[in-house]
């Protein structure tokens, strides 16, 4: 709301010494941010709860209160006194009928006019406030809108069928060309002003072109009404049409200002020689609003502010803002002015006092802690632990957008029907909620690689979405060299680096994860994908996936062929559930007191035989003293028959209570070798 200081001063008794900047600062300090100052004109930002300050008078009330309140004896004009619902003389000659409760009040007056340009002072004020002058009649309605916040509309009576005014709902498909020359199709949810034949204005939003005031207009009907805020808001939204009038109506216009607005407008027409009133004022006001009275308790005021504002200041502030204050013991009975649509209860009054007393003056205190504090949510602590773990493991945390492009999401969703889409996305690039952490991470990785940053290891923990709901996951992507040093050739990361991250994370949750070939991972290179499982009370539970990303996905992001990107994702819910089942703190096992014995074994196996199968056979055929099996070499080529590989394993034996003998270890190893031969046809390889 732009307002010239000279206009504000007409309604506020401000110190003569106060300049534009002082006034701007004072009004800003009570809650109206200043967006800009140009010459004499201050542009205030008006919060949604204060439609009364979308007017010069409203701002003047705030300004005068900010400068200490109305001084005794100052004559600050209020609204012209027009008694509520009183007929001012006879009614106007144009009959008015209200057919919907969405119109709370409708006042109408006629005037004979000579349409022409407005005087310069009037046109200048409109221009200063950002409204384009049109002609003296329209300018007068806008002037009143700016001055007291009452939107008005002038119809050319000669263009009204009847002439009469009916405030009714639009008919289905009813058409109206609005003042902006747009043909609008209305629907029955919209309130319109109609004449005897058709809609002539969209109530509270914009008038129609046919009854517009033009150079040839000689008689006008001036409308000053009140429409239900929600209705105006809905209509304005549906039509995509915001106007000075709709902005005020949808926030709430002063119900008592309708006739006052008419009086102002008629006076002004007269004053600038644009016309004169014809007959009386019609005022349809079916259910006048009751007085609003609120009690303000001294104890409540003190308790909420944490400060004791002196009685005199409470009186001064509220009175200057237009409240009628009657002291009652230590408390106050307060009548709320009709324009303060935002004030309904005691807290609203405390806000008024606090605002003008000054929040900055309230002494700062610190609230006492009356009950023991609680630790952070487990999810918060877990996320912190997980981030530190992955950072320590050399992965950089990324933060990527939750919404992505449909095409980017699809390869990572179980099926595209499970994607959660946004009804009103900013653009197609942000139309779908991510089904996985990976597409965003892949984008971030590619962003870096395109900038010649070769070694990228990223992770992100956060929410993913499907039509089943929101879940927490952690994802990671790796690309580039595993280690960079002049002493050794560069070796790129591979699937096992990504798998290692999964194992590290599972370990942090106190579980061991097992990987199996994942056949149906749409984003993975075939044969380079592992589904991750953990043991859940004997059953195998799927917790995530690791794989090498398809070249089509990496090349789509501008990466050259030959760049290997691996990644993976774990479902935190699944891991948390598991942990929930074993929620007791993990206990340590006593350290072994006896030495272990290690034996290395090199065997030739079919190249297609999974290491897990070999490990399984060994464990199934070993005594309980076998505590670890670890592959340390896998080799094929010279010396190994085609179709086979040489696999070397280190077996570790240990007993809790005694030192093992060579003989019993030897016996165990022989039994294992025999079982491997029997089960897989493996042959022992000479050392």
């Amino acid at each position: 709301m732009k307002a010239p200081v000279s206009w504000i001063r007409e309604f506020a008794d401000l110190p003569a010494s106060a300049g534009v900047n002082d006034i701007a600062a004072a009004v800003a300090s009570v809650g109206f941010e200043v967006a800009g100052i140009e010459g004499d004109v201050i542009d205030f930002e008006i919060t949604a709860n204060r439609p009364d300050c979308l007017s010069v008078r409203g701002l003047a009330r705030e300004a005068r209160t900010a400068f200490g309140g109305q001084s005794p004896g100052s004559r600050v004009p209020g609204l012209p006194a027009v008694a509520r619902n009183a007929k001012v003389g006879p009614e106007s000659e144009v009959p008015v009928t209200i057919e919907s409760e969405l119109c709370g009040r409708y006042a109408l007056a006629l005037a004979d006019v000579t349409v022409g340009p407005s005087p310069a002072w009037l046109a200048d004020r409109l221009t200063a406030c950002g409204i384009r002058p049109i002609n003296n009649v329209v300018d007068v309605t806008n002037y009143v809108l700016l001055e007291i916040g009452q939107p008005m509309h002038a119809f050319d009576v000669a263009r009204l069928a009847g002439p009469e005014i009916r405030v009714r709902m639009a008919r289905a498909g009813e058409a109206l060309t609005t003042l902006d020359r747009q043909a609008r199709t209305l629907d029955p949810s919209m309130l319109v002003i109609a004449d005897a034949a058709r809609a002539v204005a969209i109530a509270g939003v914009m008038g129609g072109a046919t009854s517009e005031v033009s150079a040839s207009t000689s008689r006008i009907a001036l409308e000053s009404a009140w429409f239900q805020p929600a209705s105006v808001r809905a209509t304005s939204k549906r039509l995509g049409l915001k106007t000075e009038a709709s902005a005020r109506f949808e926030r709430g216009v002063d119900l008592e200002a309708a006739t006052a607005g008419l009086a102002c407008a008629l006076d002004l027409l007269e004053r600038i020689g644009a016309g004169h009133r014809l007959g009386g004022i019609t005022d349809r006001y079916p259910s006048p609003a009751a007085d609003r009275a609120v009690i303000l308790l001294r104890s409540r005021l003190d308790r909420l502010l944490g400060d004791q504002v002196p009685d005199a200041d409470v009186m001064r502030i509220l009175t200057s803002l237009g409240f009628v204050v009657t002291p009652a013991g230590t408390d106050w009975h307060i009548r709320v002015p009709s324009w303060r649509v935002d004030v309904a209860r005691e807290a609203d009054l405390i806000e008024e006092v606090g605002r003008h007393w000054g929040v900055n003056r309230v002494p700062a205190t610190f609230p006492a802690l009356r009950t023991p504090p609680h630790r952070a949510d487990a999810a918060v602590l877990r996320a912190r632990r997980l981030r530190r773990l992955l950072c320590g493991a050399g992965l950089q945390e990324a933060v990527t957008f939750t919404f992505i492009e449909q095409a980017a999401a699809e390869p990572f969703a179980s099926d595209s029907a499970s994607l959660v889409t946004i009804a009103n996305p900013l653009s197609e690039k942000f139309a779908v909620l991510r089904p996985s952490m990976l597409p965003g991470l892949l984008d971030a990785l590619s962003y870096n690689r395109r900038r010649d940053i070769a070694d990228v290891r990223l992770f992100e923990a956060g929410s993913v979405f499907s039509t089943q709901g929101e879940r927490q996951r952690v994802g990671w992507v790796l690309s580039g060299a595993r280690q960079v040093h002049w002493s050794q050739p560069l070796a790129d990361v591979d699937l096992f680096d990504a798998l290692g991250v999964a194992e590290l994370l599972a370990g942090a949750f106190g579980v061991t994860c097992r990987s199996e070939p994942a056949a149906d991972a749409p984003w993975c290179v075939p044969g380079r994908a592992a589904a991750l499982f953990v043991d859940d009370g004997g059953a195998s539970k799927y917790v995530g996936i690791v794989g090498q990303l398809l070249p089509t996905l990496t090349s789509a992001r501008g990466l050259p062929a030959g760049v290997t990107v691996v990644g993976g994702e774990l479902d935190l819910h699944e891991l948390i559930d598991l942990q929930g089942a074993n929620a007791a703190p993990r206990r340590v096992t006593p350290l072994p007191r006896h030495p272990s014995v290690q034996r290395d074994l090199s065997i030739l196996i079919d190249a297609g035989l999974p290491a897990a199968a070999v490990r399984g056979t060994i464990q199934a055929n070993a005594p309980a003293t076998l505590v670890d099996v670890r592959e340390f070499d896998r080799y094929h080529g010279k010396g190994v028959p085609t179709g086979q590989v040489s696999l070397s394993l280190r077996l570790t034996f240990r007993d809790r209570d005694r030192t093992l003998t060579d003989a019993e270890v030897q016996q165990a190893v022989e039994a294992i070798v025999e079982a491997l031969t029997r089960t897989h046809g493996t042959t022992l390889r000479g050392n």
């Binding site: 800003a28 009570v30 809650g31 941010e33 919060t47 949604a48 709860n49 805020p229 929600a230 808001r233 926030r251 308790r303 944490g306 807290a347 609203d348 806000e351 606090g354 605002r355 929040v359 309230v362 205190t365 610190f366 609230p367 802690l369 009356r370 504090p373 630790r375 952070a376 949510d377 918060v380 981030r387 950072c391 050399g394 992965l395 945390e397 990324a398 933060v399 990527t400 957008f401 939750t402 919404f403 959660v420 889409t421 009804a423 009103n424 900013l426 942000f430 909620l433 971030a444 962003y447 870096n448 940053i453 992770f459 979405f465 089943q468 709901g469 929101e470 280690q483 002049w486 002493s487």
Partner: protein, 349 residues
């Protein structure tokens, strides 16, 4: 093949060892005798296979003993040489080191945890909740009924179809526009007193520019008890600002409007770039807005079934990106979402 050739080999080794005067010489001796491919001891061990069967066992143990001797002697000599190494054996320590990889927490995470830590030290519980929300928690219970003009303050992104909530609660229909819904979720489940903060991502239908992204991070705070005042709010937030900026800061509370607090205010801190004189950083106002706050609106208490006559409280919400811009001297919020390693690696570990 005979035991005598084993003795010969032992003698030859001793001579070679005595002659070795540098680590390089020693390495050559080691290769000459022990190399898996052409080492003389290796060859000796292999040749045993061709010896007469009755001699194999004895020769085998002799050869093994020799091999062990040689290994021990080489290792001992290695240790001596290392301890007395001359300058020409020195490693060029100016060559690049083999540095372990290390990652950093994202700056937004670091700022968020900095905020969390400050409030945890003040006895606040940190809670988190869903990013997709229902109308009740995001608007209605926060004193923003349908058609409330304040809903325009936050342009909302809606889901095409409702998504079920994990707790069988109301289905989600929108992306939360603020973390304030967590106030409601917490109060619905707990009786006063309340002292929480709720960090998380929030979403608005804002276009990208240097100060706006459609996704950003907020931290919500809520304190409810029988005697919580605006003064307590001020004291708490002043303390927060000093801890966060790690300096004595001047703050200013400006009245504002939020539907779920009353009175409402915005907290500004004096611009550190210009000490309040005005500069580009603070758009020449001398102040930087860091958060919105206020006393909990009684309608919010009524929505969650708290006795609005008995309890009072304060709430606040701050944007992590905005704080991060200040802390790191970044002038474009989009930097935080590009994940450019050249930027991220400048952030402290």
């Amino acid at each position: 093949m005979a035991a005598s050739s084993i003795e010969d080999l032992s003698r030859q080794f001793r001579a070679a060892l005595d002659a070795a005067s540098s680590p390089a010489d020693l390495k050559a001796v080691r290769d000459d005798f022990l190399s898996r491919k052409q080492g003389r001891v290796t060859a000796l061990v292999k040749s045993i296979a061709t010896a007469p069967p009755e001699e194999r066992r004895a020769l085998g143990s002799l050869a093994n003993a020799l091999k062990q001797d040689i290994e021990e002697a080489l290792d001992a000599r290695d240790a001596v040489m290392l301890a007395t190494a001359g300058p020409k054996d020195a490693v060029d320590v100016s060559l690049p080191a083999r540095r372990p990889w290390v990652g950093r927490r994202h700056p937004l995470t670091q700022v968020r945890e900095r905020v969390e830590d400050i409030f945890m030290a003040m006895g606040y519980q940190v809670i988190v909740g869903p990013e997709i929300e229902d109308d009740w928690h995001n608007f209605e219970a926060l004193n923003m009924p349908a058609s409330h003009p304040a809903r325009d303050m936050q342009d909302t992104l809606y889901l095409s179809a409702p998504v079920p909530a994990p707790d069988n609660g109301r289905a989600a229909t929108l992306l939360r526009t603020h973390t304030s819904g967590m106030q409601i979720r917490y109060m619905e489940a707990h009786d006063p007193p309340v002292r929480i903060i709720a960090p998380g991502r929030v979403y608005r239908r804002d276009n990208f520019d240097a100060t706006h992204t459609p996704m950003f991070t907020q931290v919500e705070g809520l304190v409810v008890d029988e005697h919580i005042s605006l003064g307590d709010l001020k004291g708490t937030l002043n303390a927060f600002a000093e801890e966060f900026f790690d300096a004595k800061v001047t703050t200013r509370f400006r009245p504002s409007f939020f539907p779920y607090t009353e009175p409402s205010a915005e907290l500004d801190v004096e611009c550190q770039g210009c000490s309040g004189r005005g500069c580009g950083l603070c758009k020449h106002t001398g102040w930087i807005e860091i958060l919105g706050c206020g006393m909990v609106h009684p309608a919010v208490f009524e929505a969650v079934g708290y006795d609005a006559n008995r309890y009072t409280g304060f709430a606040f919400g701050m944007g992590i990106e905005r704080l991060a811009l200040r802390l790191y001297g970044v002038d474009d919020i989009r930097m935080f979402y590009e994940n450019d390693l050249r930027f991220l690696e400048q952030i402290a570990l």
